[in-house]
Amino acid sequence: MRKVFEIAKKDLKIEFRSKGTINFMILFSLIVSFMFSIAIPKNVVNDVALPLLLLVFIFVGVLGYSRAFLKEAEMETLDGLKVSPISPSTILVGKIIYNCILIILIEMTILPIFFALFNLKINFILLFASITIGNLAFVTVISSLSVLVIKSRARELLMPIIAFPISFPVISSMIVVMNSLTFGQLNLDPLIFISLYSAMMLTVSILVFDYLFVE
């Protein structure tokens, strides 16, 4: 477990120095949020704001989470991890933890701005918790899949094609959660389903990752 955190710590250190991913993710979220806030008519804001927020995080996630592996492949440092005495699943979990920390930081930046832009009257804590659970599921799915597209020349295009069908249960459940929050309630069932789905995806990924990792 210590080595998992060493990998996540190393990635965070690199990210905070280069700011190559986090800046782009925050900027992208801000641009999309501003565009939505301008484009959406005031009378329907309350109905569509939360699904749009979900859309922002889906876009950001698909583009950003896979960077953890793709960056290592581009810098040719992935070989350094591969020759080290650590299991491939240790690397995967390290990357998932790194992406989780990254997305929580982005949520902490974007959510208050989104709230202000749309003048939302929703419980912030509940929304933050729900979005975090959904995002953690995306992180698990996309981090696990990104190793599949590393060798592809069109990896940025390939990722959404693979990720969306596999993330579909998470997306549809999150829409139900967002809907319930719009009406001032929290539907726990889909959140439980998302948590279980994440756990299942993580387990499957850990089981098959050793085979995917060796060329």
Binding site: E76, V83, P85
Partner: protein, 212 residues
């Protein structure tokens, strides 16, 4: 138990057969030099031996274990190549510290200090790797491979980019390690392997013993 065994190894990328029935072995404290032209298959041999690649056919064993499958045996392997495998945004010290933690190196700070001294890297230890010249990066990469005091050291064209003084210093150090660990030293230069126990030549994906 041999340090490294290749038994009828075959490796192909697509339809291109890179290694064809490669068989050789390295004893525990043997220093083996490996030479060959470009695209002969030397780097593929190094990658298979270090566990980076899995052979299509045949068996590769490092201390009787498959390196591509059994990640624990990699603790006994040190691997450096022309790809430095270093993180550009981390400093020299942070890179060595990170890899040291992955290998569970005991007394990691002392070990780093020794290696920094050996490769004359003390002045740049707090510099980010991206700010270093190719030669300095290569020195750090070699230091990284020696961090875990490996029982099998695989060096793939690591002297490329080193200046004459550091290259000679490194070769002297390498020959001091003779009889302490198994070494597979891959190079283009005959002069660098003249003191090896044995020389293997790689030609068109096959290996041949070469007289010293």
């Amino acid at each position: 138990m041999k340090a490294l065994e290749f038994v009828n190894i075959k490796k192909k990328f697509g339809n291109n057969i890179v290694l064809d029935n490669v068989t050789f072995e390295i004893e525990k404290k043997e220093f083996v030099g490996m030479i060959g032209n470009n695209a002969a298959g030397k780097t593929t041999i190094a990658k298979i031996a270090s566990g980076l690649l899995k052979p299509n056919d045949g068996e590769v064993l490092v201390f009787n274990r498959k390196p591509y499958k059994d990640f624990k045996v990699k603790k006994k392997i040190g691997f450096a190549s022309h790809n430095t495998m270093l993180y550009p945004e981390l400093t020299v010290y942070e890179n060595l510290r990170f890899y040291g933690s992955l290998y569970d190196v005991q007394g990691v700070d002392e070990k780093i200090e020794d290696l920094l001294k050996l490769f004359n890297l003390n002045d740049v230890k707090n510099k980010q790797v991206k700010d270093l010249s190719r030669g300095f990066k290569q020195r750090v990469a070699i230091a990284r491979a020696l961090m875990n005091d490996p029982k099998l050291l695989i060096l793939d064209e690591v002297t490329t980019g080193l200046d004459v003084k550091i290259r000679q210093r490194f070769l002297n150090y390498l020959f001091e390690l003779k009889n302490t660990k198994a070494i597979l030293f891959i190079t283009h230069y005959d002069s660098e392997i003249k003191n090896c126990d044995r020389i293997i030549e790689v030609k068109g994906g096959r290996v041949f013993e070469k007289s010293i």
